[in-house]
Symmetry: C2
Subunit: 332 residues, 2 copies
Amino acid sequence: MKKLINVPESVLAESLDGFAAAHSDLVTLGEERKFVRRARLTPGKVALVSGGGSGHEPLHAGFVGHGMLDAACPGQVFTSPTPDQMMAAAEAVDGGAGILFIVKNYEGDVMNFDMAREMETGRTTEAVLVDDDVAVEVSTFSNGRRGVAGTVVVEKIVGAAAERGDDLAACRALGERVNKATRSMGVALTSCTVPAAGKPTFQLADDEIEIGVGIHGEPGRRRAKHSNADTLAQDMVTAILDDLAGSGSAPGSALLLVNGFGGTPLMELYVMYHAARAQMEARGVTVVRSLVGNYVTSLDMAGCSLTVTALDTEMAALWDATVHTPALRWGI
Amino acid sequence: MKKLINVPESVLAESLDGFAAAHSDLVTLGEERKFVRRARLTPGKVALVSGGGSGHEPLHAGFVGHGMLDAACPGQVFTSPTPDQMMAAAEAVDGGAGILFIVKNYEGDVMNFDMAREMETGRTTEAVLVDDDVAVEVSTFSNGRRGVAGTVVVEKIVGAAAERGDDLAACRALGERVNKATRSMGVALTSCTVPAAGKPTFQLADDEIEIGVGIHGEPGRRRAKHSNADTLAQDMVTAILDDLAGSGSAPGSALLLVNGFGGTPLMELYVMYHAARAQMEARGVTVVRSLVGNYVTSLDMAGCSLTVTALDTEMAALWDATVHTPALRWGI
């Protein structure tokens, strides 16, 4: 294992300290590194708190800032944060309008966020569960579908709604609506290597790929011989659009997110975007919003995921709203 | 070789088509894909044109937009664009105040930009040469030092000056000033693989790194056993700050750019940022501006470079000025 680290035990702490120092204009690191929160809070606003295992950077801490999250709780690599972290984050960012937890559907995360909510007797909390991955129905760490790159779309759109003053119930309902309109699927060309493990999580032959891989390297639908970008895009777009159609959410206009897993260069992500967009257009879907880059990664895994959100007018406007975070910035 | 591509011959075209489609609000692809230019031009402004071999994305096309480049010419992977591309780009973005070419110091680029300037008899052109890499004095593709990640700093600061109305001579002088105040050094943990070659450019053992590597995988100062982030940061920061001090540019306040080469996760880049910043502070340098991410990549190479710019007040203000490009956005 060759990594730009000191020892596995200190990776998270050093990375968080570096992150907080590099973005001190936007974020503040909480005591004992329990959470990252906005440097400037807005009283009276619904506070959005997310979190999960580390190793998916910039998710979630990279999305803390105006128009998106108020705080994010980083667990150890691929390990849920603790209820203690979530409660500390909620306390730090509570603006009096309630807390909305955004939770990816993994057993550890669900259990710990539930526990935090149960213990938060003095605060009004709600939760949105993200489960956008169409690859498999049950996985290594999840009952039901996994929450993957669609989380960015949920956090962005609900973040904009909270920023404009929507109340807690409205933010939760919107989060559920966005999640229902969002589907993802990934493909791995290589495994990732967890620093503490020191060796690849799984093995792929030189000509082999994992179709439907999870963001921790969980098995997907099948191993296959590696083909090419067009074939992969067709497989993944078909799985995504069929699933959306099956649940009555067939999109006319859509957001397309091509998300790199950390080890794949941008040049290839744009090739995949080009291929996926063509597949969507061939199925009558117009891509009206786009995002291409490394947003929900799996350490150093090579590969990517595609995420499609069926956009309505309100969701498109909230997507366009100003966002100012370390990893996502636009609008005036 | 496993890559998210169709065939090596079409990687660049498909990637550019995807890029232009994903960012059609900001950029337009020129005829025959000779260049990427801003969707909206500003008459009367000095036009900044850069370019170089592809495979370093988001450099250069990702930096086309308000506050940075007016156009970028993409060559084939690791191959200079042609004079024909540069002339077409200059014609497309000429606002009547002259053209400033920003050129990384590689023989092919220098020759072709020179040729374009000689053939541009009807247009006023100047050029800034970027040669920020302290690793070696002569390299595989360059006489003199290589131009690497410091190019982003030059393009950002000069782009802001052009946007505020500085004339051609002032923009060129500023570009030279920024280049003189900027030093970089890189380290590779793995090779990159050029799609058309189909195999790694060079070989490193499982415990070996290349210190001072170039952005095409050119040899650096030495092969070494891989140590850890702190040791690497100390080596690189020492080389950079000694070199700046030797030329009379020892910084009090500095910009620190930690640039990933494409295959290294953000988590590790923040560990390196943390380590490098500590080294700089130990040498009495205050880090006042920061950038961490994949900006000047080498396809799928794992590793990173550090870039330090000794900032004066004007340069810091220009760094802070609004920028709105696919890969770099901030300011209101």
